[in-house]
Symmetry: C2
Subunit: 300 residues, 2 copies
């Protein structure tokens, strides 16, 4: 099971108490931070996200509303005595921006940062429970989307039952994969007798900032949750295009064509105080739509 | 008259809802931003400080809790269509940090930034109503304090009375300075008859982050308001020294020796939730002490 918590949902300017873009995706082991606008560390404190659990940070592009909070978070992690590795993925120049600021402050962090410049599409991270792929999106500057795919064995071993059948724990990894066990006497213990079926592995696609681009349909096909930006309402289609952004209707069209299970919209322009119309317009095209609201947490 | 508004009062880590260091000093013409920790632009929105009125920004040093909010503020000013000049004063490397981030985002600001690297002590800014001097303070890295001195003529012309005596407006600047007017017939119009006495020009000293340093006594002598950091309570004197910071007692000692009118303390460590003891300890040495509390506005 995955959880996604919204720390910020606004574009460009913070407004109406809405913070710039940042989200935390959590599996059972790790927290994955996706973008990190100014104030993200304050939002983490407010919404009880543990900084120490963040193992990977993904920065889609170098517009400030997506990364100006990163250097503060990095230095705070150091002040809090972090020792575990931190993996950061983003455009190559981001590393220079981090380094010049650490150097200016004469800071030696007590933990290692592994910076992974995003150079081509494909798998960039692989943990016990998750793979992360990156894909290019079409924005005013170099910009990357991220596709998170939970790794899950189809079955979980029930240790009590496995023990009753005297199955050695060295065989558990095969049980996880669905294999039957054969005893020394040749008796077949059916996998179903000692394992429980897992729910399906989940997937989450984060499309960052992008112009309306039907190329994304193939990439995000069938995901459990698609995050797609909706900087503007549908009457602002030309402005959206000019600024390499999308409208509600365009985001919902991608969701519909890709057959995703659910759509989450965000990155709202600071010109909008009330967000109700975003939901109405997106739902008219794709019913199962939710708003990325600061502080909200959704199960995927 | 000057006003000072506290936007953030915390050191290093934001904590207990307290933001990192930032203050706005306002005279009748301009707003002067002093340090700009992460989230300063959000605090400005919260406390109704107009970004457009900020003409000068002073950054004391390149520890993140004093400047990580600057790049966000600069870019937001651009997005809001600012056209007027912005003067930024800080350590030389700050310019590189700003430039690399503007370049990465491919941003051309619609207004000019004049960056003034702080290189030596002395006057760095001079407006219609204010002069600003900088002075070195002793911190772990290069660090600067700022001394703001209001410019004020001793007298203000009362236009109705000046008119009644038929004094030409070309003579008003001399009236401002306290001179008498002599009519064509040789009659002396005493200055007091056509002008009103102004209140005294005010002064504000901002000592940034500093170790206990009695050299500051001479520099801030007699100011109307002294801001001095008190990262720790008095029982942490050794830790304060090790980290180039000060305690309550040390800050109050500087205020007392310098004979300032009022002391404001701030830059509290994130280890303290409640700040009452800061005030108690400082007042024991220097009675007229106030706390720099986020959102509070004091008249100088």
């Amino acid at each position: 099971m995955l959880n996604i918590t919204i720390l910020g949902n606004n574009s460009a300017l913070p407004a109406f108490g809405r913070f710039p873009t940042s989200q935390v995706l959590q599996d059972q082991d790790n927290s994955f931070l996706i973008d990190c606008g100014e104030g993200t560390q304050m939002q983490m404190a407010r919404y009880k996200i543990k900084r120490s659990k963040i193992s990977h940070i993904f920065i889609s592009h170098l517009h400030g509303d997506h990364y100006f909070g990163l250097i503060g978070l990095i230095t705070s992690m150091g002040l809090l005595g972090r020792t575990q590795d931190l993996h950061i993925f983003g455009p190559a120049l981001l590393d220079d921006i981090i380094q010049i600021q650490l150097k200016s402050a004469d800071i030696l962090l007590p933990y290692p940062i592994y910076f992974h410049p995003l150079l081509e599409e494909g798998k960039v991270a692989d943990t016990n429970k998750m793979t992360v792929e990156t894909f290019k999106v079409d924005h005013r500057i170099e910009c990357w989307g991220f596709l998170f795919k939970e790794k899950k064995n189809p079955r979980t071993v029930d240790p009590e039952r496995a023990k009753a059948y005297e199955i050695p724990s060295s065989f558990y990894s095969q049980l996880h994969k669905g294999e039957d066990y054969i005893t020394k006497k040749g008796t077949i213990i059916p996998n179903e007798s000692v394992t429980i079926a897992n729910s399906a592995a989940k997937s989450y696609a984060y499309c960052a900032d992008t112009i309306f681009d039907t190329r994304l349909v193939e990439i995000v096909k069938g995901v459990d949750l698609l995050y797609h930006e909706t900087t503007y309402l549908k009457d602002m289609e030309q402005k959206a295009k000019d600024r390499y952004h999308c409208t509600t209707e365009q985001a919902a069209t991608i969701a519909k064509q890709a057959g995703v299970k659910q759509l989450m919209i965000g990155h709202f322009s600071s010109k909008y105080d009330n967000l109700d119309q975003f939901l109405i317009e997106a739902k008219a095209v794709f019913e199962n739509t939710i708003l990325a609201i600061d502080g909200s947490c959704y199960k995927i």
